[in-house]
Structures are given as C-alpha cells and as structure tokens.
Symmetry: C2
Subunit: 157 residues, 2 copies
C-alpha cells in the first residue's frame, strides 16, 4: 500500500485545517495494529485504561472514530449488542459479512456478482451508489445445529 493509514489520516486532517495530535496518532495506530473488527467500547477499553502515558479519553475516541470514518479509513459494518461494529476500510478489499446468530462470529466474503447486481438495480432506479452494507445472519459452520424454530436474537440459552 502506498501510503500508511497515519499518513492518509494526516492528509485528510490537513484538508480540513485540523491537526494531527498525539491522541489522534495513538488512536489510528491502535486501530490499524490489527485487522480485527471492533466497537467503540473495545477501543476505549484498550486506550482509556493505559497508564503508560498513551491514554486517550472516551470523548476523544468517539470524536476520532467519526473522523476516521469520514476520512475513509474505517467504516461501520454491522450492529452487535446495540453497538456499531467497525472495520478497516482503507487498504482492505470490499467485502460483506456472514454473522453467526449464536456465537457472533463475523465471516468476511467477497462477491463480485453482488456488486454487479447492485449496479444493475441502481441503474434501473436512477440511483447513484456510494456504498452498501450487507449482513447475512444465520448459523456458522460450528454452530450449525438446527435452532428451535425462528431467528431470534441471543436468548437461546
């Protein structure tokens, strides 16, 4: 990849006359240290409890997530337990998710066919696509034993 996430973030900030602060660097660094999906609370747990001088406050983390999203570095992909789940958008190929209703696992997949179908549909409606979000829910390989009767949330015991 040509430009690092930090660098891309810096460029984005520059265009808005905003500053690359110590805190913003810490956050983008932490966010891109692994490819795992995460939600705000998880990031807060990792950053707001540090004692090594790299602590970042809850408010700043929320403010940064909005900025990182706007910068195109991360995107919201799903909702779990009433929280938005984020993932890398920059330097990561377009994909969608299979979400297990039982264990919560997110499986990524990519399908060019879906992109094509969506483009066709959009054309028919005079719609200009900017993005999409596709969550397929069900049971993953490991949890694949028939559930009671219907797709429920999490209140299977």
């Amino acid at each position: 990849m040509a430009v690092s996430p930090e660098e891309k973030y810096r460029e984005f900030l520059a265009t808005k006359n905003q500053r690359m602060t110590r805190e913003r660097a810490i956050i983008v660094d932490e966010v891109f240290s692994s490819h795992e999906h995460f939600d705000a609370e998880q990031l807060i747990q990792r950053l707001a409890q540090r004692t090594d001088g790299r602590r970042v406050s809850r408010s700043t983390i929320y403010r940064s997530l909005a900025l990182l999203e706007e910068a195109g570095l991360i995107r919201r992909v799903a909702r779990q337990d009433d929280r938005d789940v984020f993932e890398h958008d920059y330097g990561y190929p377009q994909h969608d998710h299979l979400i297990c209703n039982r264990c919560g696992t997110l499986l990524e997949f990519h399908s060019e066919e879906i992109t094509q179908v969506l483009e066709k549909v959009a054309r028919e409606h005079g719609f200009r696509i900017e993005g999409h979000r596709l969550e397929v829910n069900g049971l993953c390989d490991r949890c694949c034993r028939p559930p009671e009767t219907r797709p429920k949330k999490l209140n299977l015991l």
Copy 2:
C-alpha cells in the same frame, strides 16, 4: 392473504401463553394501517399522544415491537439517525433497500439474483442463512447531483 396480522399475532401470543390485550391490538392495528417504514419514536408519537382512549405508553410500545418482531410480523430493516427502522414482514415479499443519503428516502427492490448468490456463498462457508439485511446507500434519482467529495452522514447543509 389468509390470516390478518391481528389474527396471526393472536395465534403467536397463544403459543406463548400470552394475552391479546387492548393495547396490543391498538398497536398491531396502527402498525399495519400503512405500509410505510417507521421507527419506534414515530409510532410513539402516533400512539402515546392520543387522547381518545386509545393511548398506549412508551414502554408498552417498545415491548410490543419486540413481540411483533419475534412473531415475524415486522422486522428491522435499517438504521437511520441512530434508530432502528421497521417494516412489515408478514404478507410482504422479501426485498432490500436503496437509501438516499441526502433525503433519507427508502426505495425497495427485490433481486432473486442476490438470494442465489448468497446461497452459493453460504454453501461455500458451511453457513446456514436465516436472513439478511442489505442497505445500499447513495443518492436517489431526485437528489442525484454530485455531492462535495465523499459519502457523509447528514451534515451537508
């Protein structure tokens, strides 16, 4: 359609040893009085401010939405402005949505091809599909003039 939503709701409640109350009837009635999408707050506005003796409290509306979803009468289709958006599930064909980032319009569409692609993908992953949610966001026909640069939320003036 063979059975009315009220009737289907009553049957569902019976299987759970729960009761068809005046409030639940009012709610299912209001929900199925139109095919529009709605969120909890909108329903509350319509029901919690009535003075004609058909008022229903906020708590009861939230409790009923969960029940109606469990009964398969409605389903959550999208998120807008931090709220879940519901639509009819019963007596309504499977479909997905084009969501306009500017005016918020929800356009429904159906594509058998998407269903087929998803089934193929699931098969490849040993995944058992229970449902999906596909939101395509962008600009609708009417709003289709190029935005500044990138997909933002609602902070275009």
